[in-house]
């Protein structure tokens, strides 16, 4: 279970990135964040953002129409 859950369902680009960025800013190093999105663009945007920002993307899976991303703050 993630420390923080970020709900970005039903939000289009660029909102999933903005939501995870905000949550990440408030989180502390080592904390786990789970982002849930329905925007298909997030499939490429979230890994790109995490890679650029140096946060690790631990896991990524689909559940129905939802995309889940488990990230660890650097």
């Amino acid at each position: 279970m993630a420390d923080i859950t970020v709900d970005a369902r039903n939000l289009q680009c660029p909102m999933p990135v903005l939501r995870i960025a905000k949550a990440m800013k408030d989180a502390t190093s080592g904390q786990t964040l789970e982002l849930i999105a329905t925007d298909r663009g997030a499939l490429s945007d979230i890994p790109a953002w995490a890679n650029d920002m140096g946060h690790s993307l631990k896991e990524q899976f689909e559940e129905g129409s939802e995309f889940h991303f488990i990230l660890v703050k650097s």
Binding site: C13, M15, V17
Partner: protein
């Protein structure tokens, strides 16, 4: 003796300056967007890129010039300016994100209404929302002083939370240092 001390002070200052000039890895990268259009389909990507740049931890500045100033105008700014020609410009370019037109398929306002309806249906954040988010994320919003004067738009005709009006020189100085500069 006095000269020696001042020499030492000068040397220290020079060393300090050299250190400051070194690239600081913690210093955020810069992104500059020039928003020169008052079209809805240009204002949208401007605000999307500005907020996303901020989400990437970048130091983002949006420089609003010419029709781009319409994005910053208050909805009730009315016929701005003193000259009748400025008032004419204002009459045909009503301010605020809500009144922006489309560059194509405008159809006397039907196009933007349909586009906004679609944005609502498909949960795309509006220009207004993104503008507010940008402000909250610390994106700097610079109105262009020259176009403000040319079009008769005063500081009071524009929304709160903007940075001081600036000119082309400030924009160039910033773009010289920026890793991303776009004219939209």
């Amino acid at each position: 003796m006095t000269a020696e001390i001042s020499d030492e002070a000068a040397l220290e200052a020079a060393v300090e300056e050299a250190f400051e000039e070194q690239e600081d890895p913690a210093k955020p990268e810069k992104m500059v967007l020039i928003a020169a259009s008052g079209d809805l389909d240009k204002a949208w990507p401007v605000m999307i890129l500005a907020t996303t740049g901020a989400a990437y931890g970048m130091d983002v500045t949006v420089f609003f010039t010419f029709w781009g100033l319409s994005i910053l105008k208050k909805p009730d700014s009315g016929l701005t300016g003193e000259d009748w020609r400025q008032k004419m410009l204002a009459a045909f370019n009503r301010g605020s994100p809500d009144k922006l037109g489309l560059s194509k398929l405008h159809f006397a306002g039907l196009g933007p209404t349909m586009m906004k309806g679609l944005a609502d249906k498909y949960h795309v954040a509006s220009v207004q929302e993104l503008l507010e988010t940008a402000r909250d994320m610390g994106v700097k919003l610079w109105p262009c002083q020259m176009t403000m004067d040319l079009m008769g738009i005063s500081r009071d005709d524009m929304i709160d939370g903007l940075d001081e009006p600036a000119g082309a020189g400030s924009a160039i100085s910033l773009m010289k240092e920026a890793s991303i500069s776009l004219f939209i």
